[in-house]
Every structure is written in C-alpha cells, then in structure tokens.
Symmetry: C2
Subunit: 136 residues, 2 copies
Amino acid sequence: MKPLKVRSGCPISSALDIIGDKWSLLIVRDILMNGKNTYNEFLKSKEKIATNVLADRLSMLEASGILAKEEHPESKAKIFYRLTDKGIDLLPVLVELILWSNTYLPIDEAARPYGEVLKRDKDAIIKQLMAIARKK
Amino acid sequence: MKPLKVRSGCPISSALDIIGDKWSLLIVRDILMNGKNTYNEFLKSKEKIATNVLADRLSMLEASGILAKEEHPESKAKIFYRLTDKGIDLLPVLVELILWSNTYLPIDEAARPYGEVLKRDKDAIIKQLMAIARKK
DNA sequence: ATAATCAACTTGTTATTTGCAAGTTGATTT
DNA sequence: AAATCAACTTGCAAATAACAAGTTGATTAT
C-alpha cells in the first residue's frame, strides 16, 4: 500500500497528511454522529463516495490507527468498523468544523439548531458523544 | 474558474468542500500563526507547495471569502494576503488539529510544548491569537 | 440444494488534480 | 539599462478520483 508521505513535523501539516482530504472525516462523522459502522452504510451517505475511494480510505484510516475492523455481531458477511480512541478524539475537530459552517456557510436549515446547541454547550456535548462512542 | 461542488447540506461536508484538502489550512496557518502574508512567503514553507497549486488555493480561498488581497504596504510588486473574519474563525479548527497531533502523531519535538500550553489554556490562547489577527 | 441477493471489495477506463520545470509580466534594485 | 524579484501561467508526466462493471464469500428465498 502507499507509504503516507509526511511533509513536515508541523502538527497541523501532519494531521492533514492523514485526514486532509474530502472523505476521511466524513467516515469518522458517520461512525461518530450517524451510527454507521459498515461499508454499505458508508456508501449510502448523501455525499456518494465511490466504492474504490471508500475502500481506500477505510484501509488508510485503519493503517493510521483511526479505526479498526471487527467482526459484525449480527452477520459474518459484514465487517464492523469501530473507531479507536485516536479516531474518537477527532470529534473536537468535527465540532469546530460544524460551528464554523454554522456561522459562515449555507448549510441545511435542519442542521442549524444542532449547531446552536453545540455553540452553547460545546464541551459537555463533546464529552457526552465521546462517552457514547467509547461504550459501543 | 471551477464552480466549487457542494456535496450535501451537511455542515461538516460543506466545510470540507472548501478546506478539505492538504494545502488550504496550511495557508491559513501561515497567515495566522507564522506571520506570513505574501505568495513567496507561502512558497517558502517547509511543506513545499507547488506554485500552480498555491495560486489555485489562493484564488479558491479568496473566492470563498476566507482571505482577501490587499496592496502591500511596502511594495507595489507584492500582494498582501489578509484573512477575513471567516478565515480567522478557522483558528479553533487548527487548534484542535494541533491538540490531536500532539497526542497521537510523531511531530517535531520543538512543537510539543506549544501543544501542551494550548491544552491548558486553549480558550484564552485562541482569543488572544484572534485578537492579534484582527488588529493587523 | 440451488438460485438469487447481499456485503465488501477489485478492476478497468476516463476525467481531474497534482507535482515539477520552465516561462511570462510588471515592479524594484543595481 | 540590466538584473532581480514577486506573482503568476503554461506544459507535461504522474497520481488520484469518478464511474461502471465484475468478483467472492456469506446469507436468504424458493
């Protein structure tokens, strides 16, 4: 597989080397905030990721320790993708992206109230979502 | 120019449509945290962005209202790239990326202490850096 | 038990984006 | 007036993404 090129020792640059693309954080979002855990569930998301790109991102995220494959509790045909702590700890990044979008972008109106709630209670909600993610 | 494809109304997805690549946030970083403001200064960064990609990202970031071109105070040959409020408000995203990298990635040792300080005093430091950014 | 379907991929092909080298144009310095 | 600088643009090969189709090992339906 590809050897993940590190461009510099800068923490921001190094983070972007791993999750700096249009798809990786959407997979993390789907697991963390949308209760998805399988290949087909990820495929069904509104953004319509291509199958080969999904397969590639899943293996990249696994290789970098953000998620891990497990056997699915309900079927041997399925694979259960679970976030590691490293993956769960990306939640604050997602939250800041949501807050920024809520302020500056023309997002779904239905999504706005959640952003407002987040704005008021950021730390508590992050804590809560992380606790839920770790239990599952 | 290209018409910025919006994949869905999800706030995370919409944010990634704009800044979800390996370079855009590094330009924001350079302005916000490294005191850079010109094309050549961005080119000199450790990550070695290609000239055509830099030109493309600058025009994308300008088109999406994250930065604005101004005349340079010292020379008519230079262009002064300044972050808008929309750009400055990406700082919390950068900060969370730094914190995540500090915990999980093998970054420059010299950068670690700053991450530790950030961890303790996140909100205050963000406020301070934003104030500085707005003054300039 | 056999066929059809499902889940997770892989493969091939085309379109788009990136990386790299070189060239252009309008200041500015020598 | 010539060389240099700053901000780009252009051309081209290489890498990545999008799209369509095919493969393989479960599972479900007949």
